[in-house]
């Protein structure tokens, strides 16, 4: 699914620069569910953003679904983001003046689908996250967990190959977090590849593989026995 080789990234800070990723090697197969862990500032988000083509690496190779991602112009990047990737953010990132259904249908608009088709697909995915009854509510009328489920429905709407989640449970209480994880596990069971950035051990244990970052390199990369979230909810 994705192959990363000797990836480097630094941020300029004043006159000097902060070397955040110092040669990352990472292979993720289709159908995996990977937790990316590490202390605050270790570069987890940076790595995920590069994988999501929201940011660019300074050097190194990155191949996504057999496509080398390098020097993409914005137009191409937009197409790949739309086709391959679904994003889930800690702060949900819903558009506040659009209702749940409109938010979910937005990626489909950029796929060029007809309005009717967008509505149908949007409703299908909202139903999947159990929020069909909330389709016409604005984000401000939803709870944190509901917002995150709308965001997940949106990430799923375009049927991406890879789901990228940056601390999806970071803003949620434990019970709601487990509900979200249960849902992500279901998606993974159905075959979606999922990358989750987290710094919570219990969340990481619900994945199938844990990658630990420290000082800009991968310190540990191991398969784990998945803890099913359903037993807590």
């Amino acid at each position: 699914m994705l192959k990363i080789n000797q990836l480097h990234k630094s941020y300029p800070i004043g006159d000097s620069s902060l070397h955040v990723l110092k040669g990352i090697d990472l292979d993720v197969e289709s159908g995996e569910m990977v937790a990316i862990m590490g202390s605050s500032g270790s570069g987890k988000s940076t790595l995920l953003n590069i994988i999501g083509m929201l940011d660019e690496a300074d050097s190194g190779d990155y191949i996504l679904d057999d496509v080398p991602i390098k020097n993409l112009n914005e137009k191409k990047a937009a197409i790949y983001r739309n086709k391959f990737l679904g994003f889930i953010f800690q702060s949900f990132n819903l558009i506040n003046y659009k209702n749940a259904l409109e938010n979910v249908a937005l990626p489909l608009y950029y796929q060029g689908l007809k309005r009717k088709e967008r509505q149908e697909k949007g409703k299908f995915h909202l139903k999947k996250v159990g929020l069909l009854d909330w389709a016409h509510h604005l984000p401000s009328e939803l709870s944190g967990g509901q917002k995150q489920r709308v965001a997940i429905a949106r990430a799923l709407a375009a049927n991406p190959k890879l789901l990228l989640a940056d601390e999806p449970t970071g803003a949620l209480d434990t019970t709601t977090s487990y509900e979200i994880m249960e849902f992500l596990q279901q998606l993974n069971d159905e075959g979606k590849t999922i990358l989750i950035v987290t710094h919570e051990e219990d969340i990481a244990e619900m994945c199938k593989r844990v990658v630990r970052l420290r000082d800009g390199i991968i310190m540990e990369d191991k398969k784990v026995n998945q803890v099913r979230a359903s037993q807590y909810v």
Binding site: L54, Y110, R115
Partner: protein, 409 residues
């Protein structure tokens, strides 16, 4: 291609962010409102000037005489200078090629009566050319003719209001009016675009007046229409030469300002055309000024809107929005807001002008208003301004890295 979904997106964004749209629209509407009112007033001033001179021929030269104020050539001051037919003939002979129209004027006041109706009127005894110099418009019948002049006919041409006064609803043509004891036949009725007083005048042949009132060859004044081929400067040179010539003829001191007075409309026209040029310049400056202010205003608003929407743009980009769609989203919103609110400003401006028109007439501003052309041009310029103002911020927005945009709060 018409992209219904894009328009839906834009109208949703405008509708859901109504305060923002209204606030930004207000600036544009206000700028255009000001633009319309200022241009309208400038146009009104222009109309006033035009109107002031629509009344008479613009190439007229008026010659009058009075008493000398300076002793000259052995003659004492205080001598009366009297124009006569021979002077009129002399001028026409001497300056044939410089003169288009010429007429004498003899002024009288008469008591006019027709059946029971009576009134006082001014009479002007003139030559046929007077019609063109005064721009009298024939309503019925004909003007004084050369033949009338030769025959010293007792024919008169009366103004529309004279007819109204004496004949109420009936036609005066062919009827006889008694002017201070003498019967005259009405051969024509005229109207005039100048003020009402002009339409209360009675014209008769100059020779008739000379015969019946004093039996002399005196005339009160001479009016010429200079050859329209003459430039303003040439016309002024002509009247200067004419003045000198007449002063010579009457043995008047060259510096005597009162004995022979020649007034050339060309002088005034020169002033008027300079004024109108200045007015045009003011209109251009006002127009450009308000438009530039408007464009700067919209630009600022669009920059603000883009800033406010940075995070949304980041989200859209993360979901796969191509740069082109980001540009059209921002740009079209800007154009729509400018076009709609600009139009509102325009309509309001026109309404204000219409409402204020009667008030403005007291300040010599006549029919203040904007022409259809200005409205259309302004609308087009508005839309262009909207695109221009929206384009740069939109382009910039489309270039924001999604990760930077998403981090924005």
């Amino acid at each position: 291609m018409f992209d219904l979904d894009l328009w839906r997106e834009i109208f949703q964004s405008m509708n859901k962010n109504r305060t923002r749209s209204i606030l930004s629209g207000f600036t544009v509407a206000f700028a255009i409102l000001l633009f319309t009112i200022l241009i309208g007033i400038a146009n009104g001033l222009g109309n006033t000037f035009q109107e002031g001179f629509a009344d008479d021929a613009i190439n007229a030269i008026f010659i009058r005489t009075g008493n000398t104020t300076k002793a000259y050539d052995g003659l004492q001051a205080g001598r009366r200078i009297q124009l006569k037919n021979e002077d009129f003939d002399f001028i026409n002979e001497e300056y044939k090629d410089k003169i288009q129209y010429s007429t004498v004027r003899i002024f009288k006041n008469v008591n006019a009566s027709y059946k029971g109706e009576k009134n006082n009127y001014s009479v002007r005894a003139v030559n046929p050319d007077h019609q063109f110099l005064e721009k009298s418009i024939m309503k019925d019948g004909r003007y004084i003719s050369q033949l009338d002049l030769q025959n010293k006919s007792k024919f008169i041409v009366i103004g529309r209001l004279v007819e109204e006064d004496l004949f109420s609803k009936e036609s005066a043509l062919g009827e006889y009016i008694n002017l201070s004891g003498i019967q005259y036949k009405v051969v024509g009725v005229f109207t005039d675009e100048g003020n009402d007083n002009e339409e209360r005048i009675i014209y008769m042949p100059a020779s008739t007046a000379q015969l019946l009132y004093g039996n002399n060859d005196y005339v009160d004044s001479i009016t010429l229409g200079y050859n329209p081929d003459l430039s303003v400067d040439e016309a002024i040179a002509f009247s200067n030469k004419l003045t000198k010539r007449l002063k010579d003829r009457f043995s008047v001191a060259p510096t005597d300002q009162s004995a022979v007075r020649v007034f050339n409309m060309a002088l005034q026209n020169k002033g008027v055309s300079q004024l109108q040029f200045g007015l045009g310049l003011i209109i251009i400056v006002i127009g450009l000024g308000t438009l530039i202010a408007g464009i700067v205003g919209i630009s600022n608003i669009m920059i603000f809107i883009v800033k406010e929407r940075t995070k949304e743009i980041g989200i859209r980009k993360a979901l796969g929005a191509p740069p082109r769609k980001i540009v059209s989203l921002i740009l079209l919103e800007s154009i729509i807001i400018t076009a709609i609110t600009g139009y509102i400003g325009l309509v309001l401006g026109v309404a204000v002008l219409e409402w204020a028109n009667p008030l403005l007439e007291d300040y010599f501003i006549k029919e203040a208003g904007v022409s259809k052309n200005i409205v259309i041009t302004a609308t087009i310029v508005l839309v262009l301004a909207g695109s221009l103002a929206g384009y740069l911020p939109a382009k910039k927005a489309s270039k924001i890295k999604p990760i930077v945009a998403l981090r924005n709060d």
